[in-house]
């Protein structure tokens, strides 16, 4: 066993540094899917989340509860839901999106939206209330206040985005179900690792694992840098 592991690691490093087309194909798909879904999610969740944080309105507590619940939504269940919606007999079956990167993007997008929305809302709400009042008393309208608060809490907002991206790229259940793990098409880091491990192809699995851990490390390093940086 120990032998297999060492061989696996060596094989993994070889695959990375010889630019094995399959490994790099998997990397490409993973990044394309996760980045697209997180960016799209940010586009929608940021304005809505920060707006919820900015305004006081009836039912805000309920909305907050809802967002918090969806922040911890089990990815496998999300995969199941999207599968049912996109399957041929489902309501969106005609679109023929099942087992495509589009389906994967939709699933990850829906998982990322509550995370980015929740962190943006919390970030805006955690701004010192006296700063809010100062900006208002200097004559800012709601849009100007909003922009000021976004600028002020950009660190937490970026952190929320990174968390969502990290979740997306390391997520396995949903992309497995809706993407189908099709070689060269919808195979990602995580689905690939699952498959290769099952087949006993540890080299490939380890190579992808190493890359995934490196990405996780970079994202976390960025997060820590962001949070400890003093302006």
């Amino acid at each position: 066993m120990a032998n297999e592991i060492i061989e696996g690691i060596l094989e993994g490093l070889r695959l990375i540094f010889t630019f094995d087309p399959e490994v790099w194909g998997v990397i490409e798909v993973s990044f394309r899917v996760s980045l697209t879904s997180t960016l799209l999610a940010a586009l929608i969740a940021l304005p809505i989340g920060s707006f919820i944080g900015l305004r006081e309105f009836k039912g805000k507590k309920e909305v907050t509860n809802l967002i918090n619940t969806f922040m911890g939504f089990p990815p496998v269940v999300m995969g199941l839901v999207i599968y049912l919606l996109l399957s041929r007999s489902g309501p969106f079956g005609v679109l023929g999106l099942l087992y495509s990167t589009s389906a994967m993007i939709i699933a990850q997008f829906l998982l990322a939206v509550p995370i980015i929305m929740g962190t943006a809302k919390a970030a805006i709400e955690s701004v010192d209330p006296t700063l809010k009042e100062t900006v208002l008393s200097l004559g800012a309208n709601e849009r100007q206040l909003w922009w000021e608060l976004i600028k002020h809490s950009k660190k937490s907002i970026i952190a929320g985005f990174l968390v969502a991206f990290g979740q997306a790229i390391s997520e396995v259940g949903a992309v497995m179900i809706v993407g189908g793990n099709i070689r060269w098409e919808t195979r990602t880091f995580t689905t690939s690792i699952v498959l290769q491990t099952r087949m006993g192809e540890f080299g490939m699995a380890i190579a992808l694992g190493v890359i995934l851990i490196t990405i996780a490390f970079i994202v976390n390093y960025g997060l820590t840098r962001l949070q400890t940086r003093v302006d």
């Binding site: 010192d128 100062t134 008393s137 200097l138």
Partner: protein, 375 residues
Amino acid sequence: MDLLVYKLELIKIKLLEVKNLKKEFYKGDKSIIEVLSDINFSVNKGECFVTIGPNGSGKTTLLRIIGLLESPTLGQIFYNKKDLTKISRKEKVEYRRKFSFVRQKPVVRNTTVFNNIAYGPKVRGMKYDEYQKLVNEIIEFIGLKGMENKNARSLSGGEMQRVAIAMNFVINPEIYLLDEVSANLDSMNIKLLDDFIMRIKQDKEKTIIMSTHDPLEAIKYADRIAVLNNGQITQIGRPNEIFTAPKDEFTALFVGYENILYGIAELDKTTGLSQIKVNDLIITASSQQEGEVKVCIRPESIGIVKEPPKNTSYRNTFKGAIENIRELGNICHLIVICKSEKFLIAITELSRKNLKLEIDSEVFINFKATDVKIL
């Protein structure tokens, strides 16, 4: 003079009117605290209206409600007859721009001194070319020239407060709301603040509503004072009314007693002392100030005798008559009328008995030039 002031007050326009204002806060455990109750007052255009009271009396909340940063639980606020408690979100922005709010602890945005001061003009849609000169002028006035591009958050507390004042001054509001602005300032910054407030006071178009817990500050700036205790206004009046005739024990204890007279000072070149003309009286003070002044003399600094004093070092001696006597345990307050002016004098009950002082007794009062405080 009083009659003149009274007449002037009649032609003043009510700019702001607060009616039956009440504010309640919910605490964590759902219990209610009443921060303000039954607040009624109005402020005239060009007036400096000062609320005075201890910490927690509701001064800040009152200013925040007027500045449209907080909604009252009940009651109305009229600005030029427009009810500010019933306006839309959009109108709120428009009306908020008529106020500026300087708080006790300065808050600046995380950007340069210049950008901080330029923020008000900028959100009002002014272009860089329009406000650039104005902002630089103000930076020079607050003595921060050369620091325009420094981050305002890296400044010292006093400098930050100066930036905060400049941020509010540059937007040229109708009403200045100043919340205990002189607290935590050193003498140099107090001087600068004083220059600002005096500049605003000279402009009869501008109105000031300020809060303080310092009686001397209230006397100095106020046209009228409202005493706030436990969320209620206990007394409203001109400074001399409040300080010589406090309505209740709280006011008396909190603001203390003070004789306040309004006069015009002239410097006497031969003695180097100020001669202050207060209607029919001329008061000598050891100050070099000139022009319109407020004169303060503490009631316990005034001596009283029945015979005209001879060979005294006291520079001020006036003949008068006792109008009223208030006994307060072992001390007593005498109200003495000297020509046009009333003086409040505090002596011990024992001295009063020894001197046989009664209502209508003819007396002489005297006090030193050094006991006359000029504000």
